[in-house]
């Protein structure tokens, strides 16, 4: 029971304080999980708008606030990801047809990077968040688990699966370069 905890829904000042404290960290994660900067900004905005609209209580403490906001962001991402499922299947079909060039030209490097980025984008939002947080941001597994509100073993499993899926793409790219 949240007696004594601040409820955010009605105070612009409280939301502003939350935004000022956490928007940079959330944007970094959003950008690494989104295809474009515009999508990332939209994700950031939608996360805080969901905070405004929810009647849930904000946890006490900066680290708990951040974890709570990260979970909201991943849920927003997940909602959008499901809504775009059909379009993703079409993109996956097109991706398998565009194999990386075997040459070492700058264009090939760009295509290779785009393919890896696309593979990352195709991961389910939670798995993508785990790969970004653990691999790219260097966050330890227990901290990642705490932020996402899941068990450490679940983080390790998603991390393993995410690496494997990305490695399949990378192996094809590297094989094409040789």
């Amino acid at each position: 029971m949240a007696l004594g905890a601040a409820v955010v829904g009605s105070s612009g000042e409280q939301v502003g304080r939350l935004f000022d404290s956490h928007h940079q960290r959330l944007y970094r994660l959003a950008r690494r999980m989104s295809s474009t900067a515009e999508d990332a900004q939209d994700l950031l905005q939608e996360t805080f708008l969901r905070v405004v609209r929810t009647s849930a209580s904000v946890p006490h403490g900066a680290s708990n606030e951040e974890a709570w906001l990260v979970r909201i962001m991943v849920n927003v991402c997940r909602t959008r990801w499901h809504q775009r499922a059909n379009r993703r299947r079409l993109d996956a079909f097109n991706t398998t047809k565009s194999e990386p060039s075997s040459s070492r030209s700058p264009e090939a490097a760009l295509v290779a990077r785009a393919l890896v980025w696309q593979a990352l984008s195709r991961l389910a939002p939670r798995r993508r968040a785990i790969v970004v947080m653990c691999e790219l941001e260097g966050m330890p597994v227990p901290d990642t688990a705490r932020q996402l509100g899941i068990a450490a073993v679940t983080v390790r499993w998603h991390l393993s699966r995410g690496r494997r899926e990305l490695l399949q793409i990378i192996t094809r790219i590297e094989g094409g370069r040789q």
Binding site: V116, V131, L167, T171, E174
Partner: protein, 120 residues
């Protein structure tokens, strides 16, 4: 062959773009704060639910006690429990007490004294 982490570092968009610009930060912040200010205050610092529930429960108890004092106790009725021995319903000379008596097949007499005013 580069590993997954090396590839992720290479494709990291923040390496090129950097932080969110102050202009964009302000636009998003304004949008969010405006939405928060436009919403009616939904809750106070303390959740009212448990307090209201406690008040309602206390009021119900007080109402029950009050009614018990106002409404006179029903006269003692003979209890007709089949299979048991003789029933000897009596009513106490005092109006506040009601007695129910019956006898078991073994001959044990059981007397229930019901105090309608809950005096112990």
């Amino acid at each position: 062959m580069k590993d997954v982490r090396s590839w992720l570092v290479e494709i990291d968009p923040l390496r090129v773009e950097g932080r969110l610009s102050p202009v964009r930060v302000e636009v998003i912040r304004h949008r969010v704060v405006t939405e928060a200010q436009a919403r009616p205050p939904a809750h106070t610092e303390w959740a009212p639910g448990p307090i209201l529930a406690t008040i309602a429960l206390a009021a119900s108890l007080l109402a029950g006690i009050g009614l018990a004092r106002v409404i006179p106790p029903a006269p003692a009725q003979p209890t007709n429990v089949s299979g048991l021995g003789d029933e000897q319903p009596t009513s106490s000379s005092e109006q506040r007490e009601t007695q129910v008596r019956f006898t078991t097949p073994g001959g044990t007499q059981i007397v229930w004294v019901l105090n309608t005013h809950l005096d112990l």
